[in-house]
């Protein structure tokens, strides 16, 4: 169950389906990534690179954790998508989307993503630690 919950694909889906609640309008975070992409928005670029890294690592190494590079890339991908979300809200100077933190459904979705990515990062950090101890 925990393995499924912290699977990269689950994390990506949870990330894209975070529900942003603006004062008048809202939407899934996927929409905001796509909106910012033509303008080169930092949160969009970080999200694309982060998701790309997670997909690539998952496809290339199949979660075997044989090489050190796999958890490192996973951690980088995880941090990037977290940074994307952080910068999206941080750069929102008018706090237009701060309703996301106060409304039940968006908070639930945000919590699911947070727990999922926290477990994922912890898992990958432990893999690095385990390998260091073993060597």
């Amino acid at each position: 169950m925990i393995k499924l919950f912290t699977h990269p694909v689950v994390i990506i889906i949870a990330f894209l389906l975070i529900l942003i609640s603006g004062e008048h309008l809202g939407g899934f975070y996927l929409l905001y990534i796509l909106l910012g992409l033509p303008h080169g928005a930092v949160h969009s670029l970080l999200a694309i690179v982060g998701i790309g890294l997670l997909f690539f690592t998952n496809y290339k190494y199949q979660q075997q954790f044989i090489f050190n590079i796999e958890p490192v890339l996973n951690i980088m991908g995880g941090i990037m998508i977290l940074l994307s979300l952080f910068l999206f809200f941080y750069n929102d100077k008018s706090h237009y989307n701060y309703g996301t933190f106060y409304q039940t459904i968006p908070v639930i979705l945000l919590s699911i993503f947070s727990l999922s990515v926290a477990g994922f990062l912890f898992n990958n950090f432990s893999k690095i630690k385990f390998r260091q101890m073993a060597s």
Binding site: E23, H24, L25, G26, L35, S94, N97, T100, P106
Partner: protein, 446 residues
């Protein structure tokens, strides 16, 4: 690799050289122009006293608002100086002589609030405005009668602060806080549309901060240059709590109808201030906002409420265009890009209040068919009679409204067009240079 390194170094050198030459050249032209122009504009006694070496040039790139402060000799830009608005052609278009005196309650460095007096004179030393300042707020405006900058209903409003910034940067270099700067920028405009820097409910956007970057100026003098303007915005509430509209409207009954000045103002805040054509702000997904300011004044009594209509949960509009629960919100200090004011008789005013209360019983938020703009127009037009305000409608993505949707952008375009027509209502339309902010609300009354 060597070629690459050489090319990089060459680029850096070229870029650096170009930047310095351009700035120096521009400042020399500016300096010469201003000196020549000022010589003809102010009394020679004052001109001789000007200390051009310590001038502070402040650029606000966003709306091309450039200001030059020239202190008098043995004085500083914190107390006595000439304030000039610099145009693109490096000449000044308007100017004032400012005198500020501060009552020292504590050390200047630790005192965050300005207490003192301000005096504004024209360049030929005619005093146009004088006022005391308490905790950064202009308390009382005295002005010469030949400068009708302030309307009666603006000056006597006691509940609106001169500056409604909730957060600001501390004073830097010049000793004047950013809030004071706001006042100065708005007071530079004596046309009346800017009122007295916000007492009327808004002030122009012109936040500047002196970073004390010294560059070489013309004529052997030097000027301090603000190379990196800092933009100030108000700190909005993190949530938009619903108000009890009945309690908000009840306040108006505390002022007797006889002799009262009643008005309603519709205000639009477009998504992107610099781009009126933008349908929404791609950075945060905001489509803008339309809201109302309702005011009743009698003598020294003032009641003012800023009311806007919102969905209870914005995210629901992402999943469906069906109506969702709505709420009325206090839009105090909200920014706006255009507004239209309409004076009402007490009877019409009361009818309009009744209409708001009636609507509040059942309206539901519908992004494409009954949004914030629809609500504001609904109320505004209920008091307008046959001369209904209609605005261009737009098809919004995913919208199901057959004839399009009312948007803040559409209202903005309508007001700009009405202002350009110059008809009878154009004087009631305010379009700030970049944006303005409404003042406070009276709040609920029990």
């Amino acid at each position: 690799m060597k070629h690459l390194l050489f090319g990089f170094v060459l680029l850096v050198i070229l870029f650096s050289c170009k930047k310095e030459v351009t700035e120096d050249f521009n400042n020399t032209i500016l300096f010469n122009n201003i000196q020549g122009q000022l010589k003809d504009s102010i009394p020679s006694k004052d001109f001789e006293q000007l200390d051009f070496r310590n001038s502070v040039f402040s650029k606000l790139v966003l709306n091309e608002m450039n200001l030059l402060r020239i202190p008098f000799k043995n004085k500083t830009c914190a107390t006595d100086f000439v304030l000039l608005k610099i145009e693109k052609n490096n000449f000044f278009s308007t100017g004032k002589i400012i005198h500020l005196s501060q009552y020292h309650v504590g050390p200047i460095s630790t005192s965050k609030q300005f207490n003192g007096e301000i005096s504004i004179s024209s360049l030929n030393r005619n005093i146009t405005r004088q006022s005391s300042i308490k905790n950064g707020f202009v308390q009382l405006i005295r002005q010469s009668v030949n400068i009708p900058f302030a309307k009666l209903d603006i000056v006597i409003v006691p509940l609106l602060p001169e500056v409604v910034l909730i957060s600001s940067y501390p004073p830097a270099g010049s000793g004047i806080s950013i809030s004071t700067w706001y006042n100065l920028v708005s007071m530079l405009d004596g046309s009346g549309t800017n009122s007295n820097g916000g007492v009327g409910g808004y002030y122009s956007y012109g936040g500047l901060l002196n970073t004390s970057t010294t560059v070489t100026g013309g004529g052997g003098a030097s000027m301090q240059d603000v190379s990196q303007p800092i933009y100030i915005d108000y700190e909005p509430a993190k949530t938009l709590p619903a108000i009890d509209i009945k309690k908000f409207l009840k306040c108006f009954s505390s002022i007797p109808d006889a002799g009262a000045i009643c008005s309603i103002k519709i205000l639009t805040d477009i998504p992107v201030d610099k781009d009126p054509g933008a349908f929404f702000d791609w950075e945060n997904g905001s489509p803008g906002h339309t809201f109302l300011q309702i005011k009743k004044i009698s003598g020294n009594q003032v009641v003012q409420q800023n009311i806007g209509f919102y969905p209870v949960a914005g995210w629901k509009n992402a999943l469906t265009t069906a109506p969702s629960d709505g709420k009325l919100v206090d839009n105090f200090s909200h920014e706006f890009n255009a507004s239209l004011n309409m004076n009402l008789t007490p009877e019409k005013f009361q009818q309009m209040l009744t209409h708001i209360e009636y609507l509040s019983n059942f309206i539901r938020y519908d992004i494409d068919e009954y949004n914030c703009t629809d609500f504001a127009l609904d109320v505004f037009n209920s008091a307008r009679g046959s001369n209904q305000l209609t605005i261009p409608k737009y098809d919004i993505p995913g919208g199901a409204a057959p004839f399009g949707t009312n948007t803040p952008q559409g209202l903005y375009q309508k007001l700009v067009a009405m202002k350009a027509l110059g008809n009878g209502e154009s004087k009631d339309i305010i379009i700030p240079g970049l944006k303005g902010f409404v003042g406070s609300s009276t709040g609920p009354c029990n």
